[in-house]
């Protein structure tokens, strides 16, 4: 990002702080700026994380560590710079998260130690602080891996020493450290092959760079809470999905491919585009740029005229977004969820529904609030409480509709003053069966007991695909096979959905029941669902068979047999 490093030519930059020495409060403000800028770029750092373990959490860990450091000093009125630095280091140590967080806390520790007994921070001390930060950090590992945050700290310290030999200005020293850190980050793939293979720079090093750059931007009065204008690879300019973020008044989408006559000043380019419209994206590939913007009708030619002045335009596309929007709206003309209105004193039922179709079914049966969730996306206790705390009644019944959510529902009951009953439905059909017994004006405890007794009225079948090869309850399953669960227990494995459904129904003795209801999930189309159910109809001519869109993920079918 060297092109974006503030390096104003001509007139000396306006600075927020004196250049000879700063005190503890200045240091505190700069720390906050570091944290803010790091947080702004957190996802960028996360996305780079491939070493030592590619778990994509470096940015988060560094933010949490810096946040802990900031929490330690947020309310401090300390003027003594050395004491402030020690408080920051202490906070960073206590809150150090992950590998990069621990290293960051060691950097702070060394930094603070250099400032022992220094009431203010001057250029000489700053240089020493960077050197000691490096030394302390390097002591913490037997075999330092180069091409990481350690390398960036080392190069930053070297730049500080070099700058310190020439100037006594804090700003000048820092103004040399930041670009040096940037160059160091850009070099990390040359030192660490795993980075080169992945085509990234080191995440921790980049994080440290943002921390340093945040201070510099703050000192110069540049914004730190919005990400910089960045250029995506051309392939990443996502024109397909951009239509979702249309703002009122921005009626036209303009896309211009062009080749600039001279290197593009991105900051300026973005600033000029921002005066015309929104949803700006710029992509670059082999000297070609693609600009994407949403503009109001009267400005639809402005971006083209503007870019014409910058270089050669090769292609222009203008589209009316409003016309596109109408199409999309027509497609998504789904019935709206009509939840039951509850009077004070009545019973309000809160149901967890794993899909929009199931939510509508629950709503049609008189549920007052729906919580989205289910298998692999269990709602938290907080989400459950939030769902019912605004209902205008004291009497609440919760239908978890999944065995893994019952516990969270019980915790929600403990944490509220409302009169909460839990009907421990383990499956969606059980929940639906219980809803049949709902009497909104009845006594909550009695109604709940009645609903619980209804849980056994229904058999539940679930059809999904095995995600791994396993043997449970004597059924051996190969990854990718269709599996059927009867009342939550794995009972059959089959090679096709059709086979799986039939086997499962047979296992559940569906022939002895009257009504079979199928809720088909997002992974299966309506036509495919109907085709399979026609087969079922032929096999079970004496049973009434219903089909509903469930919209649940993972499960191709949830089947209610009663």
């Amino acid at each position: 990002m060297s092109d974006s490093t503030p390096n104003p030519k001509g007139a000396p930059p306006k600075l927020r702080y004196p250049t000879n020495r700063i005190n503890g409060q200045d240091l505190k403000n700069m720390t906050e700026a570091s944290l803010t800028w790091l947080r702004t770029n957190q996802q960028t750092v996360n996305a780079l994380n491939v070493f030592p373990v590619p778990d994509g959490d470096t940015g988060t860990n560094m933010v949490l560590t810096m946040q802990a450091a900031w929490n330690e000093i947020a309310n401090s009125a300390e003027k003594h710079a050395g004491k402030m630095a020690h408080a920051i280091a202490q906070g960073a140590l206590m809150g150090a998260r992950g590998n990069s967080g621990v290293i960051l806390s060691q950097l702070w520790r060394g930094f603070a130690r250099a400032m022992d007994n220094h009431e203010t921070l001057d250029a000489t001390t700053l240089v020493r602080a960077f050197v000691m930060a490096r030394d302390t950090a390097y002591k913490g590992v037997v075999r330092p891996v180069e091409g990481t945050i350690l390398t960036v700290a080392k190069d930053a310290a070297a730049a500080a020493e070099e700058a310190g030999a020439q100037t006594q200005s804090l700003f000048e020293v820092f103004n040399q450290i930041v670009p040096a850190a940037d160059r160091s980050v850009q070099r990390t793939p040359d030192l660490l092959p795993v980075l080169k293979q992945a085509g990234v720079v080191d995440s921790g090093g980049k994080g440290l760079y943002f921390i340093l750059e945040g201070v510099l931007r703050h000192v110069l009065g540049l914004p730190i809470d919005t990400p910089l204008a960045t250029v995506l690879p051309l392939s990443a300019v996502d024109l397909e999905n951009s239509v979702e973020s249309i703002e009122p008044g921005q009626d036209y989408e303009v896309v211009v491919d062009f080749r600039p006559a001279k290197p593009l000043d991105l900051e300026l380019f973005y600033a000029n585009l921002e005066s015309m419209g929104t949803s700006i994206q710029v992509g670059e590939g082999e000297g070609m740029y693609r600009m994407h913007i949403h503009v109001p009708t009267e400005k639809r030619y402005e971006p083209i005229d503007y870019i014409m002045g910058l270089g050669t335009i090769t292609k222009v596309a203008i589209e009316n977004l409003m016309a596109q929007m109408e199409e999309i709206e027509q497609k998504s003309a789904q019935p709206k969820l009509q939840l039951a209105a509850i009077e004070p004193g009545q019973i309000g039922v809160v149901a967890v529904a794993p899909g929009p179709g199931l939510a509508r079914v629950f709503a049609s049966l008189g549920v007052a609030a729906i919580i989205e969730g289910g298998q692999t996306m269990n709602p938290s206790t907080q989400e459950i409480i939030k769902a019912f705390e605004n209902l205008p009644t004291e009497n609440i019944i919760i239908l978890p509709n999944n065995k893994n959510i019952i516990l969270a529902a019980q915790q929600a009951r403990e944490m509220t003053v409302k009169n909460v009953h839990i009907v421990p439905s383990r499956t969606v059909p059980q929940g639906l069966s219980a809803m049949m017994r709902l009497a909104p004006d009845g006594d909550a405890a009695e109604v709940a007991a009645d609903m619980i007794s209804a849980l056994g009225d229904v058999e539940t079948g679930e059809i999904t695909i095995a995600t791994r090869t396993v043997e449970i309850d004597g059924v051996s399953v190969t990854e990718g096979q269709v599996i059927g669960l009867h009342n939550g227990k794995l009972v059959i494995a089959a090679s096709t959905l059709e086979d799986g459904v039939l086997q499962l129904l047979q296992h559940a003795h569906a022939g002895h029941f009257e009504l079979i209801t199928f809720f088909y999930g997002v992974e299966i189309g309506k036509n495919e669902a109907n085709r399979i159910i026609d087969v079922v109809r032929a096999a079970y001519p004496d049973q009434e068979i219903e089909v509903q869109e469930g919209g649940q993920p993972h499960y191709h079918f949830i089947i209610s047999i009663e």
């Binding site: 030592p52 140590l93 809150g95 590998n99 621990v102 913490g140 590992v141 891996v145």
Partner: protein, 118 residues
């Protein structure tokens, strides 16, 4: 002794080989300044051992791999975070190199090294 059947024969990996992978991963882990043999708790002077079976114990019960690490951590770092990072790094590196799952990595912090006093 960890085995994986292949059509043309079997592949056997000795615990010592696994220990070597783990050892190198530990030495590159930030915050760890040494490994120590399980029975040398008092002899912190002998902390840094070159033999990759010291400080690393690998067990294979015919089903899964468990690794025990006996380490010394730099004083002044957050021990919990360092220990977590070490176990993640070791698990990742062993699994990546072997292509077999590691069931557990137990980290035993046997001591702290004080290199500076704040």
């Amino acid at each position: 002794m960890s085995e994986e059947k292949k059509s043309i024969g079997s592949i056997t990996i000795a615990p010592r080989a696994i220990a070597t992978i783990a050892f190198h991963a530990v030495r590159q882990s930030y915050g760890v300044v040494g490994l120590t043999s399980k029975n040398l708790v008092s002899g912190l002077a002998q902390a840094i051992v070159k033999d990759p079976t010291h400080g690393v114990q690998v067990r294979y019960d015919g089903d899964s791999i468990s690794i025990d690490l006996y380490i010394i951590i730099e004083y002044g770092t957050r021990v919990k975070s360092v220990a977590n990072s070490v176990s993640n790094t070791v698990k990742f590196n062993v699994e990546k190199t072997l292509g077999m799952p590691v069931k557990a990595v137990n980290v035993h912090v046997q001591g702290l090294r004080v290199s500076d006093v704040d």
